[in-house]
Point group: C2
Chain length 431, copies 2
């Protein structure tokens, strides 16, 4: 049976090639696809669900390029620590106690938060990813998932690589293509060159892109130069990693040569400004990356280092930080910032049927209620979103043509049960 | 008649001298004052209003130290422009059309936003301040108001100073002390030294503090050194301005000597990180200021340069920016950041009965609903507020013992009417 949704009379920020912002426009969805974007669509059918868009702003669903969703259990469990103490005394010991059910409930909590905030696609990298995938199956969000592996010890590294390949094989294109898998070698500093070469060789037969942390901290770059005589980006390039599609998270500490490499190789970049600030890593050279044509989108990182998964904050930070850092208010305009979280994310993932509201694109949409003090008056809807909005302004969320959230109610997830179970898991982990 | 409010069973973040965070605690309010903070208060009286605090977090109302409230009409009217073009081609021409009713409705819109976001006291500086004061009288918020004046032309400057003095005399301590007035010379670069000396002399008889923009942009500091051979802070100090209570807005570009002066003279500082980023002014040395013992609170600045009045964002930025800028995640802890928006603001204003929940303090309180995905699990309530919360998490707001906002409803302001009138005013101004 065909499922049909019609959004009537909204202000539609399309993010199409002409950057059309269309007033009093309808969006017709059939099954998982946008069928038509036009004023005054009349569509017959008793099974047609209609959503009133009057006074609302309709946007492409947001794309969160970097998360460790289950870490929402560790939100505000340990803040304001020096990085190594945070990792070694707080996060690693808690993670050592992680079980499969923790990952299921932690991910479910993150899904509530992401869906509620208009995120329709997210990229994840963590442990027990079968549980993350199951939570995404239940929650209805679009997910790009990788089982993380490290290669410091080569035999353990080999085994965990095989597990990651198994995860890819089991989950690729599940839920009608809504769940996508990728490979997640943790970082160049935890995956030595010989191991990364092996990863490339062992995974030649599977076509999945690679997701990796890259040049996040100043220390990491120093160490790479000391050990290998080159930056992490140059090292990755020399190893041939960038001949494959790569999504690199962070990219904070970059040389001009690094920026040229990332741009010319079409490496997808997840810019995570909130996490980079909070962990004291710094501010990535976003303006320079974009000027060179790099493919940049936005990510929140996990809730242990952000500490929320509100993409509107990352959008805002992506603009404000470059303006402030370079003392130039024209840097990263509202349109550019909003683009990062929509089309930019889609391009970084090479999934060009996302991040845009047009005929034929995937029906991933968020609807914002602008009838709020901080979104009045309506001088400019894109600027209102970028400089004023937050996750709580999202009223309706559609993924793959299905309603996941409508006027305060989650339609696929049991909010109270998830709070209860996540609280129970978090209590045990922090003991 | 005594009016009584009892908040039952909340988690109370007191910000008292012991920084107590009290679970399952009650707060009893009588008229405009907090009478008791204790578990299981039983209070007779048919006229007692009870607010259930179970699962809620009770905080001191937030203090916004720098605003131009009526500029909410210009929210997203002009973004991403170079500073001088923004001012001269967009803001000044629009402001030239301002009328008294614009200021009333623009302020009212800002009051909706501030009250909705848990702000209970704000400092303002703008034109037609009688209208701002009237809006505050109607809205019930606590306000510290100054009619701005500039002294580039000495006779006009003198007249506008007299108007500002008249405003002080008319409105000081109105609404039972809820409305307070101060003097608002715009900035050292618009008020030359001779004029500032005159201001000090003419206002010796009124005891009000002075609110002034100070060292906001790099350009302003360069120009001051060129013209006067000293920084704006040193110039103010040499003129004797700091012998009076001063609240200085911005303080972004400071020398070490400037920081020493501000700290030793006890100058109140409004740190406005969002506006400073957005206008491309930079990042203030907050950590250094606090290390020297300066009296710092937080402000949003007007909505034309922020673009919202969400104090939770300023709290979060105050911490994240210092961590990122200095690449040190231990800088500005959650407690320190929250303190800036509560006790810090009160100390900068030298109003020590604000920003704290304790017996005898003013009954200015916000209650947050933590039953939201981004505030779960409850590992640490202060960190949850600082690193995850936003204005929309505020459920109830009390100022001077009176309920202004409760579960989505404004009790003193007509939300729909204000949207209508503010939209009408904004349309005319941007034509």
């Amino acid at each position: 049976m065909t499922s049909k949704l019609l959004i009537k009379n909204g202000t539609v920020i399309t993010m199409n090639d002409d950057n059309d912002i269309l007033d009093s426009t309808d969006v017709l969805i059939e099954n998982d696809t946008i069928k038509s974007v036009s004023p005054a669509i009349t569509e017959p059918g008793d099974d047609l669900k209609i959503i009133a868009g009057d006074g609302k702003v309709v946007i492409p669903g947001l794309i969160n390029l970097h998360n460790h969703a289950a870490m929402s259990l560790f939100r505000s469990y340990a803040d304001d620590y020096p990085l190594m103490e945070w990792l070694e005394k707080k996060i690693f010991p808690a993670e050592a106690k992680l079980t499969e059910e923790d990952v299921y409930w932690g991910t479910s909590l993150a899904l509530l938060e992401m869906i509620r905030g208009g995120t329709t696609t997210f990229v994840d990298m963590y442990y027990y990813m079968d549980e993350t995938a199951r939570a995404c199956l239940d929650g209805g969000i679009r997910a790009v998932l990788s089982q993380v592996f490290i290669g410091v010890n080569s035999s353990e590294g080999y085994n965990s690589l095989q597990d990651a390949i198994k995860f890819v094989e089991n989950w690729q294109d599940q839920a009608g293509g809504r769940i996508i898998t990728i490979l997640g070698p943790h970082a160049p500093y935890t995956c030595p060159p010989e191991f990364l070469k092996r990863v490339l060789k062992e995974t030649e037969h599977i076509k999945t892109p690679i997701h990796i942390h890259l040049s996040e901290s100043r220390h990491e770059v120093h160490e790479s130069i000391e050990k290998h005589g080159k930056t992490p980006v140059a090292l990755m390039n020399d190893l041939g990693m960038f001949e494959r599609p790569v999504l690199a998270a962070h990219c904070v500490h970059l040389t001009d040569e690094d920026i040229d490499i990332l741009a010319s190789k079409g490496v997808g970049i997840s810019h995570n400004p909130g996490s980079n600030l909070k962990l004291g890593n710094g501010i990535a050279p976003l303006k320079k990356l974009l000027d060179k044509g790099a493919k940049v989108g936005l990510g929140t990182d996990g809730a242990a280092s952000n500490n929320n998964l509100d993409m509107f904050e990352e959008i805002r930070l992506s603009s404000l930080l470059q303006k402030g850092l370079y003392e130039n208010p024209t840097y990263i305009t509202a349109h550019e910032a909003f683009s990062l979280a929509t089309r930019g994310g889609a391009e970084a993932l090479k999934m060009n049927n996302l991040g845009v509201i047009k005929e034929g694109a995937k029906a991933d949409i968020a609807i914002l209620d602008f009838n709020k003090p901080h979104l009045q008056p309506h001088n400019n809807p894109v600027a209102n979103i970028v400089y004023s909005a937050s996750a709580s302004d999202v009223e309706t969320v559609i993924v793959d043509g299905k309603l996941l959230f409508e006027k305060g109610t989650f339609l696929t997830l049991d909010e109270e049960k998830i709070y209860f179970e996540a609280t129970r898991c978090a209590k045990r982990l922090r003991q």
